[in-house]
């Protein structure tokens, strides 16, 4: 897959399945991050949402990337709750709108899709960079994806760049003092811990990149 110029619906479906699997695997870790500066449910929340996504994908796999992303949006919106549900819901919904009916996603469209998702998050949650939220994973990811596209990269490279930047962005939330979400109530005491939403965002973007790169694709499909 690494040499392809576009990613298709199968990539999207595999990515989403892998997302569900990754979230399940990191559930306790995400909840533990949230316990330290929030209320300890972020892993649980996301896992509830992605389990439901998985069930729906099994029941009736959507035919287009746009439909698949919309299904995720609606499912997360109605199953996750908390802050993350509407935020991720909006992000996937904007991503779905961005790809429209397109069946083959090329590198520029992937960057546009990621940007739309990030803009959705910001529109809904009003967080600014360095507020210690998931936005701090998404914004570097979007910037890296854009730079990568400008440098003529393939989709796989674009996603790899986005994932790496998101991971770095999540790490970089550690020293920050939270200004949004529950963690903001801790004031200075929120510094020193990684933001759980940034951490889950990095996992989801890493799942996208890994799927594109074909790593462990068989396991994820099981």
């Amino acid at each position: 897959m690494a040499e392809l110029n576009t990613l298709n619906n199968e990539w999207v479906l595999t990515w989403l399945r892998r997302s569900a699997e990754v979230v399940a695997r990191h559930k306790s870790e995400l909840s533990e991050l949230d316990r330290l500066i929030g209320d300890g449910d972020h892993g649980e929340n996301l896992d509830r949402g992605f389990s439901a996504v998985l069930a729906k994908l099994d029941a009736e796999p959507p035919a287009t990337p746009g439909d698949a992303l919309k299904l995720v949006a609606m499912t997360l919106m109605s199953k996750v709750g908390g802050a993350a549900g509407p935020l991720y819901g909006t992000a996937y919904l904007r991503a779905a709108t961005a790809v429209g009916g397109t069946l083959e996603l090329d590198a520029p469209l992937l960057a546009v899709m990621l940007t739309a998702a990030r803009d959705g998050l910001v529109a809904r949650g009003k967080a600014e960079p360095r507020d210690k939220t998931m936005v701090d994973a998404w914004t570097p990811a979007v910037d890296a994806a854009a730079a990568s596209v400008a440098a003529g990269a393939h989709p796989t490279e674009v996603l790899a760049a986005a994932a790496a930047a998101a991971e770095q962005g999540a790490e970089d939330t550690i020293p920050l003092v939270a200004h949004k979400g529950r963690a903001s109530y801790l004031g200075e005491r929120s510094a020193g811990h990684k933001d759980p939403g940034a951490a889950s965002s990095a996992l989801l973007l890493r799942a996208a990149a890994d799927t594109a790169a074909g790593y462990g694709a068989e396991e994820a499909q099981q």
Binding site: S31, R35, G38, D39, G40, D41, E44, N45, R48, M77, S78, K79, V80, G81, G82, A83, A84, G85, P86, L87, G89, R124, G125, V177, A178, H179, K180, G181, R182, S184, Y185, L186, G187, R189
Partner: protein, 333 residues
């Protein structure tokens, strides 16, 4: 973690089912999606009141469904706000043609989910107003935070706005009096112990044997700072200080004083706090005209309490005294 539960995933469903059985004369349960409504729909159109939020704060909110208070409550998973797919049908059930007021505690999750639901319910033709409760003075600097949290003041907003709806006030008037209550109530809480979310299985924060956490919220999140354990009177002074600094009470002012238990503290201790709180509040020259002491908005089995002071006007007193018939608050009927 030892709890009287079965499967941690079923805690909310089973608890609400038991609640529904115990109060079948007052409420009906819709189980999927989960929400609670009054047993009887109003004879003539009245403004509907809907609230909701994460579970774990019982009796809030379902315990306040009934005559003179809420029309519907939407319990989310423990400490996690409910989703629009439950809030929307609850809103529809609460609508008898006069519109619906959403009473929302100011937490990002609650705000975003209720906002989404309100947009969608409005799109279906229901007029919605939202009262955002943010009474928690522990959150000092709302410029750099998600803003003050909605805590115990929510109960007072629900009671007083509920009475206004019951007597036939219109949508804007009900929302306005709810907003007025919110604007005049301030709350501050303390935890002596943390609580354990069932599916997490570990306490939400750590406290040494001689520490307490000041300025906690109601979700087991740590507070603003830890201090060494103190006698109840000292703790009461500390909780009241920021409240009174904001309310600026003067001679002749009338207040409602609310000492709320976090779930794991005995009633007897709440009365010890109440006793001293009355002295401190009345030292400003104000008088405590009404009160509420007990476990009304809790954080699972957390030990601790919050103190709320609501500056009353004549209309609020009248609405507070109006009949209420809910599982958790009842008088006049």
């Amino acid at each position: 973690m030892k709890k009287l539960i079965n499967d941690p995933q079923e805690v909310v469903d089973e608890s609400v089912a038991g609640f529904g059985l115990a109060h079948a004369d007052l409420v009906s349960i819709n189980s999927d999606p989960l929400f609670v409504t009054r047993k009887e729909r109003p004879a003539k159109p009245k403004v509907g009141l809907v609230s909701g939020g994460g579970s774990g704060h019982e009796p809030l909110h379902a315990g306040f469904v009934g005559l003179g208070m809420l029309d519907a409550a939407v319990p989310g998973p423990v400490f996690t706000s409910p989703t629009p797919d439950a809030i929307i049908p609850a809103t529809q059930a609460a609508d008898s043609g006069a519109g619906v007021v959403h009473i929302v505690k100011n937490y990002t999750g609650d705000v975003l989910n209720f906002e989404t639901a309100a947009e969608m319910a409005a799109a279906e033709g229901i007029e919605i107003r939202t009262v955002l409760v943010n009474d928690d003075v522990a959150v000092e600097d709302s410029l750099y935070t998600a803003g003050r949290r909605g805590v115990a003041g929510t109960v007072l907003v629900e009671k007083i706005a509920g009475a206004a709806a019951e007597r036939g006030d219109d949508l804007d008037a009900v929302a306005a009096v709810g907003q007025r209550v919110n604007d005049n109530v301030r709350t501050m809480g303390v935890a002596l112990s943390a609580c354990t979310v069932p599916h997490a299985g570990v306490p939400s924060f750590e406290l040494a044997d001689d520490e307490i956490e000041i300025g906690i919220g109601i979700h087991g999140e740590p507070g603003r700072h830890k201090i060494a354990m103190e006698p109840a009177d000292g703790i009461t002074d500390r909780l009241l200080e920021p409240i009174l600094a904001e309310l600026k009470l003067a001679a002749g002012d009338k207040v409602l004083l609310f000492v709320n238990g976090m779930g794991g503290t005995p009633l007897s201790e709440l009365y010890i706090v109440y006793r001293h709180a009355v002295q401190v509040v009345e030292a400003t020259g104000a008088t405590v005209e009404r009160n509420l002491v007990g476990n009304y908005i809790t954080a699972l089995e957390m030990q601790g309490c919050s103190i709320s002071v609501l500056k009353l006007d004549a209309e609020m007193i009248e609405l507070w005294d109006a009949p209420v018939n809910t599982p958790a608050l009842r008088w006049g009927v």
